[in-house]
């Protein structure tokens, strides 16, 4: 058993060292060299500190991330509370819909905002037509809106679980001791769910800070870290890999600090109360219940509205950048007239990446959950590093690492798959170790005791028992890989253009109709498997229970 764990751990560490740590080390190295390859220098950092543009870039990114975190908490916590404690009509459906924004591509939502409220947006032109001026949504306002509406489920999910994990007796005890309901919420409930709020909030912050697609669509000329890193590295005119490296290191530092703060805080506090009986739904007056219902549904619908808008707009005809009110499939014709290749690429790459990620992630998750040792602790830590690294930075590192030398990967499909696998690995590890935690270790011991070798036990007993959870993980990895933009845009080569790349270039250029069609395809590609798996997961759960 130990040998199996050691082999998995070592293999995983080697893989992560080659495809994650080594590329990142090269980015770090480049940030300390003149022009990225010359002698050692601190000049790249000095240039950033002296530059108002780059300081503005860092400031904008941090400001947007912080604001989005605050707003996501502001709508996420009440929504979680309503879902946990108020009898809202259609609660189950609402819960499913509320988790959708997490897997739908956020830059599509950003593009929807452009289509609706941009310079030539539907709403903008309509309002202007009847004489109502409308402010610009480009820059901070639009970016914060999109981040809030796409990332708030990160707050809702853990906080909802937190509210449901508070045993009914906890609240009853507080009430019995004379606390009024608001007093009890403030002194008992909120402190108990505080770690969940913090965990969710920091996730929003990190995701917002790293996100490339949303500012790429909405920033226009305003500086944003993730976009600037990309432009400095891949830009045609003003490429500066050294500055890109330095900005990357600063971005990783920000996300790493956020991650460490979260770990430190959560490590010290444990407020699980082993809920036996879930707290009862709050008795509310019809008026209050109606308000809660409207607010909850309102939040969720608002977050999904941009996606529906894109789906509808993709069916309208564009005349140049200007939208008309004529129906037609012209946009899709344009999208597919060139070739089916981008769509095919998206599906192929996502499939390979999803299978590879789960094949690598499941044994790691198993070892991390089952065999505590110094080595597996190291693996657990390294396996979480991709959380703190944006796709763009990882892609840059991969290019520096595998553009020359013994292993040349640039220009092919494999480097894209590697980037997806590394980026989604923390998710695969977390989800499979969560499943393993729920499996009784004595099941495996019983199998070994009956004469089956540990590795065969893992393959024939543990994996089938993990299967339902692994399938769910596989689909989620598939979806997020299919809509990946930040690493793809750096790594793709001519033969391996994906739908996201087509959409990005269409937005950059003037192909508004093309972009809308590509966005619609991305929504369908991500939403359909999710709905399929949702039914399957429900079925599996009912048979397991």
């Amino acid at each position: 058993m130990k040998r199996f764990a050691t082999i998995v751990t070592l293999a995983a560490l080697v893989l992560l060292a080659v495809f994650l740590l080594y590329p990142l080390a090269l980015v770090l190295d480049a940030s300390f060299r003149i022009d990225g390859t010359g002698g050692l220098t601190l000049g790249n950092y000095a240039a950033i500190v002296k530059s108002r543009y780059y300081l503005g870039s860092i400031g904008n990114s941090l400001f947007c991330a912080a604001l989005a975190t605050a707003f996501a908490c502001a709508i996420g916590i009440p929504l979680a509370f309503c879902l946990a404690r108020i009898d809202i009509p259609g609660r189950a459906l609402l819960l499913t819909l509320a988790s959708l924004p997490l897997v739908l591509p956020s830059f599509v939502s950003a593009y929807a905002l452009v289509l609706l409220f941009g310079h030539a947006g539907v709403v903008t032109t309509t309002l202007r037509g009847i004489g109502i001026p409308i402010g610009s949504i480009y820059g901070v306002p639009g970016i914060v809106i999109v981040f809030t509406l796409t990332l708030y489920p990160y707050v809702v999910m853990p906080v909802l679980a937190g509210f449901q994990a508070v045993d009914a007796s906890m609240e009853e005890a507080a009430r019995n001791l004379g606390g009024s309901r608001p007093y009890v919420i403030r002194t008992v409930l909120l402190p108990i769910v505080m770690p969940a709020i913090l965990a969710g909030g920091l996730l929003v912050f990190i995701e917002a800070l790293e996100n490339f697609g949303v500012p790429a669509v909405l920033a226009e000329d305003r500086p944003f870290l993730a976009v600037d890193i990309f432009k400095l590295f891949a830009g045609e005119s003003d490429a500066n890999p050294a500055a890109a490296g330095a900005l990357s290191v600063l971005l990783i530092a920000c996300t790493a600090i956020a991650l460490l703060v979260q770990r430190h805080y959560l490590g010290k506090r444990r407020f699980s109360t082993n809920a036996r009986s879930a707290p009862a739904k709050l008795p509310l007056t019809p008026g209050l219940r109606l308000t809660a219902t409207i607010v909850s549904w309102g939040i969720v619908i608002a977050s999904l509205l941009p996606f529906t808008a894109v789906l509808m707009i993709s069916l309208l005809r564009f005349r140049g950048p200007v939208l008309t009110w004529e129906f037609g499939l012209g946009n899709y014709a344009t999208l597919l007239s060139g070739s089916y290749r981008p769509l095919l690429n998206t599906l192929t790459l996502a499939s390979i990446a999803a299978v590879a990620t789960m094949l690598i992630g499941a044994p790691i998750g198993y070892v991390v959950a089952r065999h505590r040792s110094r080595l597996s602790g190291l693996l657990d830590f390294v396996g979480m590093v991709p959380f703190a690294v944006s796709g763009t930075i990882l892609a840059i590192g991969l290019i520096i690492a595998f553009n020359s030398g013994p292993l040349i990967l640039t220009g092919g499909w494999l480097i894209l798959v590697i980037a997806y696998v590394v980026r989604k690995l923390p998710f695969a590890i977390r989800s499979s170790s969560a499943i393993v935690h729920q499996l009784d270790p004595s099941l495996e011991e019983a199998s070994i005791n009956l004469g089956v070798t540990p590795s065969k036990t893992f393959a024939t007993l543990t994996v089938p028992l993990m299967a339902s959870g692994l399938v769910g993980g596989l689909v989620l990895v598939w979806i997020t890989a299919a809509s990946e933009l930040s690493a793809t845009i750096v790594l793709y080569a001519s033969g391996w253009v994906t739908t996201t790349v087509v959409m990005y270039h269409a937005i950059e250029g003037t192909g508004a109709g093309l972009a809308a069609a590509a966005a619609a395809v991305l929504i369908l590609v991500t939403a359909i498997p999710l709905l399929l798996i949702n039914r399957r997961i429900n079925k599996q759960e009912s048979t397991v229970i």
């Binding site: 058993m1 009784d440 011991e445 019983a446 199998s447 005791n449 009956l450 004469g451 540990p454």
Partner: protein, 353 residues
């Protein structure tokens, strides 16, 4: 039928010596129980025999053959787990057949052996069922069948009955004992329940902090505990500290709790501090005289049906418990004086710690 020899077995976790230099000889066909409070090392010792915990030093032999370096899946032990560990993705029959398949037994033989094993645990016909259709007691029987069917060298039980309710537990322990005797298998049984241990074991080892306190038959463990810990752990005894007096050639008087107890034999040098173990059933309520006597005052009476338990106060205020039969009519109020008769041979003395 396997004899097990364990020599100088040690295992530490950090600073804790979970199993501390334990040596044991377990005979052919014996049901041998490891008994002790939680954290005494009994489960660690069992898991070392099964191969789930590495041996740090010392050796384990089955019939003179060292097995402690073998991986767990080649030790040929059949283990029954505390939470049954029935594979939820297999049927009952598949669960029982699991070990036979691993041993590459021909399919036809598997079917007949599985049927026989299920019959033995009174689950004939349950083969095609799914585990979640079975009750806790039935799952426990499947676990036992699964361990028996491979005809292992040794059966290992890790607190197998602790998840069952009290009545089922007493029924199942009889079944376990009868199966083990019928098949003549050597079995090691871990429990923290002293009654269970006394009821089914051929011999018991009482463990404390990774060390063996005493190895003996149930009767001798109960009647002649060699240490104060064993006396206290088996049955709820009264432990009374005292000072030994002069040995009179037959008994030793011990001054304790403001009165004097007479103990058979020479227990300690005069003036030495000792600890007396006085079992609740060793004290009898007497109105008349005769035998050795101590005086106490009734504090509280618990009527428990078949027995009643009296809580009494010795002259210096020490609380003791006395067992009396439930049928005995006692018309006593708290505060009433009690005369308690006892046989000096039934009181054991230990050197004070």
């Amino acid at each position: 039928m396997t004899a097990i020899r364990i020599e100088n077995l040690t295992r530490t976790f950090g600073a804790v010596r979970a199993v501390d230099d334990i040596s044991l000889d377990i005979r052919h066909g014996e049901l041998f129980t490891l008994l002790g409070p939680s954290g005494c090392g009994k489960t660690t010792l069992l898991r070392m025999i099964a191969g789930f915990v590495d041996v740090e030093s010392g050796s384990i032999c089955f019939d003179g053959r060292r097995i402690d370096a073998l991986p767990a899946h080649r030790r040929d032990t059949g283990m029954v787990f505390q939470n049954y560990a029935i594979f939820p993705n297999h049927t009952v029959a598949e669960n029982v057949a699991y070990g036979l398949r691993a041993r590459k037994v021909p399919a036809a033989e598997i079917a007949s052996r599985v049927d026989k094993a299920l019959e033995r645990v009174r689950l004939a016909g349950y083969g095609p069922r799914s585990p979640h259709q079975l009750s806790g007691g039935q799952l426990q029987r499947v676990a036992i069948a699964r361990a028996l069917v491979i005809e292992p060298a040794v059966l290992l039980f890790d607190e197998p009955l602790s998840n069952l309710d009290a009545q089922l537990r007493t029924e199942m322990r009889i079944e376990v004992r009868q199966l083990q005797q019928a098949l003549g298998l050597t079995a090691i049984y871990v429990t923290h329940d002293q009654e269970e241990a006394l009821a089914i074991s051929d011999r018991i080892a009482v463990l404390r902090r990774g060390k063996i306190e005493q190895v003996d038959t149930p009767e001798r463990i109960y009647r002649m505990p060699q240490t104060a810990f064993v006396a206290e752990f088996l049955g709820s005894t009264n432990m009374v500290p005292g000072i030994a007096g002069a040995f009179d050639g037959r008994n030793t008087p011990v001054a304790a709790a403001g009165t004097e107890f007479t103990v058979r034999g020479e227990v300690a040098a005069p003036g030495a501090p000792v600890l007396l173990s006085v079992r609740p059933e060793a004290l009898r309520l007497r109105d008349g005289s005769g035998g050795s006597l101590v005086h106490a005052r009734l504090a509280l009476r618990e009527f428990l049906g078949p027995v009643q338990r009296l809580h009494a106060t010795l002259p210096d205020g020490t609380q003791i418990r006395i067992s009396a039969l439930g049928g005995q009519a006692l018309d006593l109020l708290p505060g009433a004086p009690l005369s308690l008769a006892y046989d000096p041979a039934q009181i054991t003395a230990y050197p004070a710690p």
